[in-house]
């Protein structure tokens, strides 16, 4: 079943606020082999001018995950998760994420394309902090493989 082309332009409800914990950043840092003191040591991060430890550049995937779950759960989307592969990913920052941030993400489907039986779903998750200020936009293309 092809992906519903009418998904293009759809904007989802903002996700529940995600409180970024210091230990979560440390756990994620260990997982992506990030050894910088700024990702682990609050004193080092403060000395560099940050309020608390800094999340590695790909950390927003943790928050983006909940927006992609919204997309995959959309009843009329026609997206079979077992056929989904990650095509590309991008993070565009206004400022880095630090421990203590409370972040909300809003997903918009920006493009649906068909290519050789596959569908490509591009979405943007705009992530803002507790003051409403932009932090980072996570842009993702999912490739939904067609029947082979």
């Amino acid at each position: 079943m092809p992906v519903n082309p009418e998904l293009q332009g759809r904007v989802f409800a903002p996700t529940a606020p995600y409180l970024v914990g210091r230990e979560k950043i440390r756990e994620f840092s260990r997982a992506v082999l990030a050894t910088s003191p700024l990702n682990n040591d609050p004193d080092a991060a403060k000395a560099a001018g940050y309020a608390d430890i800094v999340a590695p550049p790909t950390f927003p995937i943790v928050i983006q995950e909940s927006t992609l779950a919204q997309l995959l759960a959309e009843p009329d989307a026609g997206i079979d998760f077992t056929r989904v592969v990650h095509g590309d990913q991008r993070f565009s920052y206004t400022r880095p994420i630090v421990a203590g941030d409370e972040l909300t993400a809003t997903l918009a489907v920006t493009a649906i394309k068909s290519l050789g039986g596959h569908s490509m779903v591009t979405s943007e998750s705009t992530i803002t902090d507790q003051t409403g200020a932009h932090v980072v936009t996570a842009i993702s293309t999912l490739v939904v493989r067609g029947d082979e």
Binding site: K24, E27, F28, R30, A31, V32, L33, A34, T35, S36, L38, N39, A48, Y50, V54, A55, P56, P57, T58, I61, V62, E65, T82, V85, H86, G87, D88, Q89, R90, F91, S92, Y93, R95, P96, I139
Partner: protein
């Protein structure tokens, strides 16, 4: 942090094991079984258990972070996932990252990453824009 166009600013090889994948699954919340179960990977036609693309994207930028000394200076980071990294249950997988200056202005620098596994590139258009401010 002075660099010239075309200069290689960092180079590093990472060894992934199945343990790395389980750790990343927990940290990221991505529990797709193709990243830890051989039988499931095989049943969907994959050559074996694969590293999460986002894990590869995550460590591939670390040599750049170590070079600039501050992950907060990364303005933009993008990759295209072109080939899977198959992680052998006994031997794991070795992934090499080469970071090269792709563009340079007074305000920022673009680092282009070449990420290879088994002599093949696994990420396309892997670029990080770094603030020089």
């Amino acid at each position: 942090m002075i660099a010239e166009l075309g200069e290689i600013v960092a180079e590093k090889t990472y060894r992934l094991t199945r343990d790395s994948l389980v750790r990343y699954a927990g940290a990221s919340g991505d529990f797709n079984p193709i990243h830890y179960r051989d039988d499931v990977a095989e049943s969907v036609g994959l050559p074996g258990v694969l590293a999460h693309g986002m894990l590869t994207m995550g460590f591939a930028v670390q040599p750049v972070v170590d070079w600039i000394g501050d992950s907060g200076k990364i303005l933009d980071y993008q990759v295209r996932f072109t080939r899977p990294v198959v992680v052998d249950r006994a031997d794991g997988a070795e992934v090499t990252v080469v970071a090269k200056v792709g563009a340079l202005t007074d305000a920022e620098i673009r680092i282009d990453l070449t990420v290879t596994f088994a002599d093949q590139t696994v990420l396309g258009k892997a670029q990080a824009r770094v603030s020089l401010a």
